[in-house]
Each structure stands twice: as structure tokens, then as C-alpha cells.
């Protein structure tokens, strides 16, 4: 409680911030950021609706709405409800989960260049999944295996970084090392596989929401439903950690327990997304930067902005990959090829600012 009131000083509080009292609890509410969330959600819904009309069988918007509300029963209903809607929802949910995971890891280690793709979490999922693919195991279990791989890798990174405490720089370097080992092992598996399995493995490790099912939607939706509230609740602690270990301890934050909780939430968000869509690159790295740039330093509401922007990015990238290019490419290629150069620029700026 102390920590919440410790951060905003009256002089620096922007005019858009209101204090709302609900029973015994008081909240700071930034109306500007809330407006952004609303606007981004409207854009997201519009983009989603547009995505539902696109495809080899083009549908007018009215037909899509009819299919969704059940007013229409024919092919359009099947196409919209069973083929396109799961893909659109999966893209949006996966994007949100990845972006939020990135925000948590970046805050946790106090470094804006970190994400689950860089410190090995996603490499763990990839290694497990590729192992599963090249050994010809049943594919329905693939998401479970990928999830387990990510969680086990995070546990290993956490334990290897532990030296009485978790220091950000150490966690990053250990993560890079673990990432290198797992990437090498994954390459080893791909090399030994036959070309079809190798191609499938490469597709998986690129990240794609192709042929997403309602089952995928349910998995990511469940992950988000459980972890987003936890994440929002932990954001004040994340802000305190930003100030420095000494300050965080002096305001009574149980530092290592909070860090562990943040690692768990960040890992599970990423693992849930990667389990159904593969490691879609650069989303977790990039989106938190954009969110901070337009909405200000990380907080509960900016965390939500991050999620919505992540959803927008992955959905948009998937639409580009699916419809705008002469050949359909997985969404991970689009986020990597388009997002990466932009990220280089962000990264340069982030370094000059820190």
C-alpha cells in the first residue's frame, strides 16, 4: 500500500490522472490511457472484422455479421465461425500474451532489450516442440510439450541465475547462454530429420497461426484470463523494482518473491502463446516499447495497452502474411522481417536514453 502512494508525487502527476475511491481502496486512473485502450480496442475489433471478410472466399461485412449472430446458416457461417474466427482470435490473443510477457521481462530485469525470445524461454519451447516433431510423436500433444519446454527452461535459467538473489544482468547473460545451447540443439535435430519433418519444424519455429482451432483459442484465452489480472496486480511491484533494489526493499517489497512471481507470470504468458502459435518473433521485444512510447511508463493500464497493441500487431501481421503477399507466409516471418528493422531503431534509441 505504501508503495502505491510512494510513486506519484503531486508535481509530476499529469492532469489526466484521477483518483477513484472504491470502498477502502483508492486507485489512480489515467483517463488518457483508458481512452487509448478504448480506441485500440475499437481498432482491434474493426481489424478483426475486416480479417473475417478476407480470404479466397470473400464475404461482405453484412454476411460476416449475420454469420456471427447466427442469422445466416450456409457456407458463410462455417467459413466465418469455424475457419476464420479461430485464426483471428488466436492471432489477437497470442499477440496480447507475447507482448505482455515482454513487458514483464523487460521491467523485471530493468532492460528494455530483453524478451522471452532472447533469454531462452521460447528456445526451450522450440527445442521441445521440434524434438516432438522430428521423433514423429502425435501432434495433438505438441502444445503441451512446447509449454512444458518453456516452463522447464525458465526454471533452469532462474536457478542458474540464482546467486543469493536474481540480478538482472546475470539473468540476461545466463539466458543468452541457455538460448544458445537450445538453439544449437534444435539445429542439430533439424539437420538429422528428413526434409519434410525439417520443413515442418522450421515452420513451427517461425511461428504461425495457420489452421488455428477453437481448441487453440481456448488455451490462450484461459492463459490470458488467469494471468492478465495477476499481471495487472503485480504492475505496481514492477514499477517499484524499476526504481532500484534498495528502494524496493526499503518500501517493504519482498524483492525475490516478487521477482519469482513476475518470472512465473511472464513465462506462463509466453509459454501459453508459444504453445499454440510457435515463437512469433519480435512481438514481445517490440510492443512494450511502442506502448511505453505512446502511453508512458509501465503501469496496470499501460500493461493493458501493451496487450491490445500486441493483439493488433500480430493480427495485422497475419493479415499481411496471409493476404497481402503473393505467397502466404507465416506470421512470424512478417513480424521478423518488418518488425526487426524498426526494432533496431528502437533499440538504438533505448540505449541512448538509458
Amino acid at each position: 500500500m505504501m508503495a502505491r502512494s510512494a510513486i506519484p508525487s503531486p508535481e509530476t502527476t499529469p492532469p489526466s490522472v484521477r483518483f477513484v475511491q472504491l470502498g477502502g481502496l483508492a486507485f489512480r486512473v489515467n483517463t488518457r490511457v483508458l481512452g487509448m485502450i478504448g480506441l485500440a480496442l475499437v481498432v482491434l475489433v474493426a481489424l478483426g472484422a475486416w480479417a473475417l471478410t478476407l480470404g479466397s472466399f470473400r464475404l461482405p461485412l453484412q454476411a460476416v455479421i449475420d454469420a456471427l449472430t447466427g442469422a445466416e446458416a450456409g457456407d458463410a457461417r462455417f467459413i466465418v465461425r469455424d475457419l476464420r474466427l479461430p485464426r483471428v482470435l488466436t492471432a489477437a490473443f497470442v499477440g496480447a500474451a507475447l507482448a505482455m510477457s515482454g513487458a514483464i521481462f523487460q521491467g523485471l530485469v530493468r532492460n528494455p532489450l530483453v524478451s522471452p525470445d532472447i533469454i531462452g524461454v521460447n528456445a526451450g519451447a522450440s527445442f521441445a516442440a521440434v524434438f516432438w516433431i522430428v521423433t514423429g510423436q502425435p501432434s495433438p500433444l505438441l502444445p503441451v510439450i512446447a509449454f512444458t519446454g518453456a516452463v522447464a527452461t525458465t526454471a533452469a535459467i532462474y536457478l542458474l541465475s540464482w546467486r543469493g538473489n536474481i540480478a538482472g544482468p546475470r539473468l540476461i547473460l545466463v539466458g543468452i547462454g541457455v538460448n544458445a545451447i537450445l538453439t544449437a540443439l534444435t539445429t542439430g535435430l533439424v539437420v538429422r530429420a528428413n526434409i519434410y519433418e525439417a520443413s515442418r519444424a522450421l515452420h513451427w519455429t517461425t511461428g504461425s497461426v495457420y489452421a488455428a482451432t477453437w481448441g487453440d483459442v481456448r488455451v490462450v484465452a484461459a492463459v490470458l484470463a488467469v494471468l492478465v489480472p495477476v499481471g495487472v496486480a503485480l504492475m505496481w511491484a514492477l514499477r517499484v523494482i524499476q526504481v532500484g533494489d534498495t528502494t524496493a526493499r526499503s518500501v517493504g517489497l519482498p524483492l525475490e518473491r516478487t521477482r519469482l512471481a513476475l518470472v512465473l507470470v511472464g513465462c506462463a504468458l509466453s509459454a501459453g502463446a508459444v504453445a499454440v502459435a510457435g515463437p512469433i518473433g519480435f512481438v514481445a521485444l517490440m510492443v512494450p516499447h511502442i506502448a511505453r512510447m505512446i502511453a508512458g511508463p509501465m503501469s496496470g493500464s499501460v500493461f493493458i495497452v501493451t496487450g491490445v497493441l500486441g493483439a493488433l500487431l500480430v493480427l495485422g501481421a497475419d493479415m499481411v502474411g496471409q493476404h497481402a503477399l503473393p505467397v502466404g507466409v507465416p506470421v512470424g516471418v512478417v513480424t521478423g522481417a518488418v518488425g526487426a528493422p524498426y526494432f533496431l531503431f528502437l533499440m538504438y534509441r533505448a540505449n541512448t536514453r538509458v
Binding site: 544482468p169 518473433g281 516471418v333 521478423g336 533496431l344
Partner: protein
């Protein structure tokens, strides 16, 4: 508390730990050369087909094309060993030079993105330009490696505090992952290219064309000899920019020369064998345990210990998965990355 007091005099005492007098260093270097000869011989002998000493000897000096064993040595094991000798020396020396110029214990051609830049350059050249001859695409390897290293260094050293190990390592990883996502995009568009390139991308000494190696050999030799001559400069540069300048060194010029040599070495190595990770990071650290901070000795040792370790890793890769093989790039990453983790756990590095 005790940690604080023991860490205080670190710069002078720690770096000199293990340094031997010149005579002993010379003898140890000779021992390393002997060990390298033994490992090279083993590299000719060990594999899915065992080769006897006499067959290896005859294959080298009295080659009899009728003999199956001698043909194996001549056509498979000998090219592989020669490439291993060159590539190991190149990567190790490139790593040592980068650690000296950046004053960064985590520098190396792979962590700074040179390897993935060179790999990206080559794959792009093969895919778009349909270039087939190594002499054509080696230039793309150099260009890619140079561009990636420049980008990594520009990003990693931006801002206050300059290039700290963490900033530099992160910038390198991000640049590498950027390049690999572009590479993946190319590969997904064309299964044919994937089929050709995936073996090469794993980084291996096996199945490599000796012609590729001989065509990059001039670059390699220039790089190796040039770097050996730079030992003095690296010594001075590793004391820091200010000290080097006050000693009268034109640091900008020296850095440019060293960077060019590093790109020559790493680019040639990648063109010959594919990206082999962590050798350039690990060998200088191991070597400095013997030589201490003197870069003239460090470079000379790298020239010998680099191939020694690379060939050992290659032999290990042949033995662990019989009758198949594990690519040497995978072996070096799996054995070398723990060194990175160990370095990260050292208080000195993580707090830089």
C-alpha cells in the same frame, strides 16, 4: 564483505594470475603444438571407419588410390582436418582481438553477430544471385559480417557507459535473431534452398569442399599473419582508449585495422565451415589462464589452441552419436555456452 576486499585489487592481480615466464610459455606452446599434431592425427583416424596409423601415414605421403581406407583419409578426413585447423585458428584469434579492442570479456565473432551476418550474406548471395563459386560469395560473407558487427557495436555502445558486456551481448543477440528471422523467411520460400543450406547453417567441418577452403585461404592467411603482428597494439588498446591515446597510439586507425582483420578471419571461417559458435569466445579465455594478459602470447596460443579445441570438438561429435555425427557447431555451442553462463555468474562480469 570478504568478497569486496578480495575484489578490490582485481585489475592487476587477477589478470596476471597464472602468467608464466617467457621461457616456460614457449615450452608450453611447443607442448600445445605437439598436442595439436596428435589431435590432427586422431582427426584422420577416428570416425565411422577406424583408420590405422600406417594407413593415415601412407595416405599422406605414399597415397595408394586402391586402398579404401587411404581414400577415405584423402577425400574425407584430410580436407576436414585442414579446414578445422584453419577455421579454429581464425575464430580463436578473431575472438581474442575482439575481446581486446572492446575490452569486453563476452566479445567474440558469434556474440557480436559477425558469424550470423556472414551466414546471412552467403545465403542471400546463393538464393538471389545464384552464386556458386566460393570466391564470389566470400565477399558477401565479409560484407555481411562487417555490417552485422558494425550494427551490433553501434547499438551496443550507444548511450552512457559505452559498450558494457550486457549491452553488447544483447545487441549482438538481437542483431543475430533479426538476421536469422530474415534467413528463415528466405528458407521458407524455397525448400530447395533449405535442403542445401540447413547442413551448412549448423556449422560443420564435414562434407565441406576443400576448394572453398583454398579459395578463402589467402584471406585467412592475411588475417592470421596480420593479427599476429598486431599483438603489441592489442596490448596497448586493451588498457583502454585513454591510456592508449596518451601512449601516442592512433586508436581509431588501429581499431579499423583490427576490425578489418577480424572480419577477414571470421568471414573466411564462416564461408569455409558455416557459423561455428562459442569457439571465439571460449578459446581466448582458456588461453589467458596460461598466458595472462600479454596479447602477443595470447594470439600465438590462440593460433594453436583454437584448432586444437575445434578438432577435439569435431572428433567428439563423430564419437557421441555413432554411426551418425553431431555437427561441430552444435558441439562447440553446447560445450561453450556453459562457459558464458559461468562468466555471467562471476560477479565482475555481471556488474560491468
Amino acid at each position: 564483505m570478504s568478497r569486496v576486499t578480495s575484489a578490490a585489487p582485481a585489475p592487476s592481480t587477477v589478470s596476471h594470475r597464472g602468467a608464466l615466464p617467457a621461457a616456460k610459455l614457449g615450452v608450453t606452446l611447443l607442448l600445445c603444438v605437439v598436442a595439436l599434431a596428435v589431435v590432427s592425427l586422431l582427426s584422420l583416424r577416428v570416425g565411422s571407419i577406424g583408420i590405422s596409423n600406417s594407413d593415415a601415414w601412407h595416405a599422406l605421403f605414399h597415397f595408394n588410390p586402391e586402398s579404401y581406407e587411404q581414400t577415405v583419409v584423402r577425400t574425407l578426413r584430410l580436407p576436414r582436418t585442414i579446414i578445422g585447423l584453419g577455421v579454429g585458428a581464425a575464430l580463436a584469434m578473431a575472438g581474442a582481438a575482439m575481446q581486446a579492442t572492446t575490452r569486453n570479456p563476452l566479445a567474440g565473432p558469434d556474440l557480436l553477430g559477425v558469424n550470423s551476418g556472414a551466414a546471412f550474406g552467403i545465403v542471400t548471395a546463393v538464393y538471389y544471385g545464384h552464386l556458386t563459386h566460393p570466391l564470389q560469395f566470400v565477399w558477401f560473407a565479409f560484407a555481411g559480417g562487417l555490417a552485422a558487427a558494425a550494427a551490433t557495436y553501434a547499438i551496443g555502445s550507444a548511450g552512457t557507459g559505452g559498450a558494457t558486456p550486457v549491452k553488447l551481448a544483447l545487441a549482438g543477440v538481437v542483431v543475430s535473431s533479426l538476421l536469422s528471422s530474415w534467413l528463415t523467411a528466405l528458407l521458407l520460400l524455397d525448400q530447395q534452398t533449405l535442403e542445401v543450406v540447413r547442413f551448412w547453417l549448423a556449422g560443420s567441418l564435414a562434407g565441406r569442399d576443400l576448394a572453398t577452403f583454398t579459395s578463402v585461404l589467402p584471406f585467412l592467411m592475411v588475417g592470421l599473419i596480420g593479427m599476429l603482428l598486431m599483438g603489441n597494439q592489442l596490448d596497448i588498446l586493451s588498457m583502454g582508449e585513454d591510456t592508449a591515446r596518451s601512449l601516442g597510439m592512433r586508436t581509431g586507425r588501429v581499431r579499423a585495422v583490427v576490425t578489418a582483420l577480424v572480419v577477414l578471419l571470421a568471414g573466411a571461417a564462416v564461408a569455409a565451415a558455416g557459423p561455428i559458435g562459442f569457439l571465439g569466445l571460449a578459446v581466448p579465455h582458456i588461453v589467458r589462464l596460461i598466458t595472462g594478459p600479454d596479447y602477443r602470447w595470447t594470439l600465438a596460443y590462440c593460433l594453436v589452441v583454437g584448432p586444437l579445441l575445434l578438432l577435439s570438438a569435431d572428433i567428439l561429435g563423430r564419437v557421441v552419436a555413432r554411426p551418425g555425427e553431431v555437427q561441430v557447431g552444435i558441439v562447440t555451442a553446447v560445450l561453450g555456452a556453459p562457459l558464458l553462463i559461468a562468466l555471467a555468474r562471476q560477479r565482475r562480469v555481471a556488474e560491468l
